[in-house]
Symmetry: C2
Subunit: 288 residues, 2 copies
């Protein structure tokens, strides 16, 4: 099931303008959101991020339209969880890079099942040969151009790891293929600043906000690979898997003295989701 | 008119699988080719580059299929010139970055008019704040993710220039938004090497090959912004405009002692196109 410009279609096939710049140039953005019991977790944050990104791209879509489209698809999600993807492109254009003066954006919403078993699943990382381009605004946006990350993930899998660790052009830690990176060191919870080529993740922001409840001091600072190797714990965050502990980087086992703190943060994240949606994301259990 | 998986459609609207990874992740490549009098200039070079790029992406499309699709659309091009765009995506996939084990690629061919008046049109450049990511294989591929270049072009236009000069992460010259960069210095014709984050342009390769005919020694070496400012002439190349002289960078007028050599190179390029297609690209004049 897919929603294209406000119209629901069975399956994923529908009419399309093949001059759409989303396809021809990657000229658009997307958001991936978890919906539980019909409620989209942190919807306002996702729409805020989308609006800020579209401003950088130089066009806008009415928020009411995005809210209505997301709500229409969220109503079809199973109660125990779904993943909504909202895609906005600049719409059709003529040949070449220059955008139309008055674009007619395309809005697509798709729905997939939420696999709650993926949450907190441990993962081994391999450092990618592909660097994250912190010298481009796209490193801070969820743009349609995800091929660097696709190739980094494939490279990591070919090396027996579960995901890639992407460094930026200054060899600082940026992210995994579709997740933010955190470390715990003593009582500090550290993650790279946005300027290092980091997507301002919705769960990233929530984890930083919830850190004090777990006795941790949230800090944004540049991290090296060595900082991760010497941490008490390393974990990833994203909107679908929430938290995942990292067990290895390039075959070297990471310390796990802080693993209990990662579990405590995950409990708080799950409670945060439950408080907003009325249901625990870990198994569809209704919230107490 | 558009050709999708071998079927011609009037206009640009046709059925589409909205799970196509070309739209959702920019997971695909394209080629832009000039067709004159029904013949595609350097078709084999374009298909070779596409095949090499698809190998890096990890999938393939039969060359006969691409040749047939391009030929079907080339037959519709006006005799005095058209621009064919061949787009290949990895095809539909499930949610997430991991590609299907056995992809079914999507092949799209579109046709636009060739505006021969754009050839040799002088252009002023503005140095972009966005760096070309030479630390990614995509900097050497014509991938669907062109949003960096779209934003760089918009930034340049906002500053009163006609195109962007993109440097790489080491501050070396990489390219314009959709063109390779050359300089003439004495009897040397210089352009950055592919490793600097440069697309191996089809016309770039031809210009290097034709340089000796114009009394120039072709050299691939890294260039700085200063190298361009101190050149006898600077020009851009791509498959649609062939050559364009650069007159300014960030408001500073460039020397033009080598402008005659640029014109001589353009004459040789035009003759090269005419020898392959049977017609001069500058105005649809049949070749002598």
């Amino acid at each position: 099931m897919i929603l294209v410009d406000g119209v629901v279609h069975e399956g994923r096939i529908a009419r399309f303008d093949y001059g759409d710049r989303g396809l021809t140039l990657g000229d658009g953005l997307f958001e991936t959101m978890t919906v539980i019991a019909g409620a989209v977790y942190r919807l306002a944050d996702h729409l805020d991020r989308m609006a800020a990104g579209l401003t950088i791209l130089g066009f806008a879509v009415e928020r009411e339209r995005l809210e209505a489209d997301v709500a229409a698809m969220a109503a079809w999600a199973p109660a125990d969880g779904g993943v909504l993807r909202l895609t906005v492109t600049r719409g059709p254009g003529a040949r070449g890079l220059a955008p139309p003066d008055d674009p007619t954006p395309t809005v697509v919403v798709s729905l997939a099942p939420l696999e709650s078993g993926l949450m907190m699943q441990p993962v081994r990382l391999a450092v990618s040969s592909i660097r994250r381009n912190d010298r481009s605004p796209l490193s801070r946006l969820k743009s349609l151009g995800y091929l660097d990350n696709v190739l980094a993930l494939a490279e990591a899998r070919a090396r027996g790891a579960g995901d890639a660790l992407m460094l930026n052009t200054s060899e600082r830690v940026a992210c995994a293929s579709a997740a933010n990176v955190f470390r715990i060191a003593g009582d500090r919870l550290e993650t790279p600043p946005i300027v290092d080529g980091v997507l301002p993740g919705i769960v990233r922001t929530r984890v930083l906000a919830l850190a004090p409840d777990a006795g941790l001091v949230p800090v944004e600072r540049s991290l090296t690979e060595r900082d991760l190797e010497e941490a008490d714990a390393v974990f990833l965050t994203n909107s679908v898997r929430l938290l995942r502990p990292v067990t290895e980087i390039d075959g070297a086992t990471l310390p796990h003295d802080g693993r209990g703190l990662v579990a405590a943060l995950f409990d708080r994240m799950a409670a945060d989701v439950a408080s907003e949606t009325g249901r625990d994301p870990r198994g569809g259990r209704p919230a107490a």
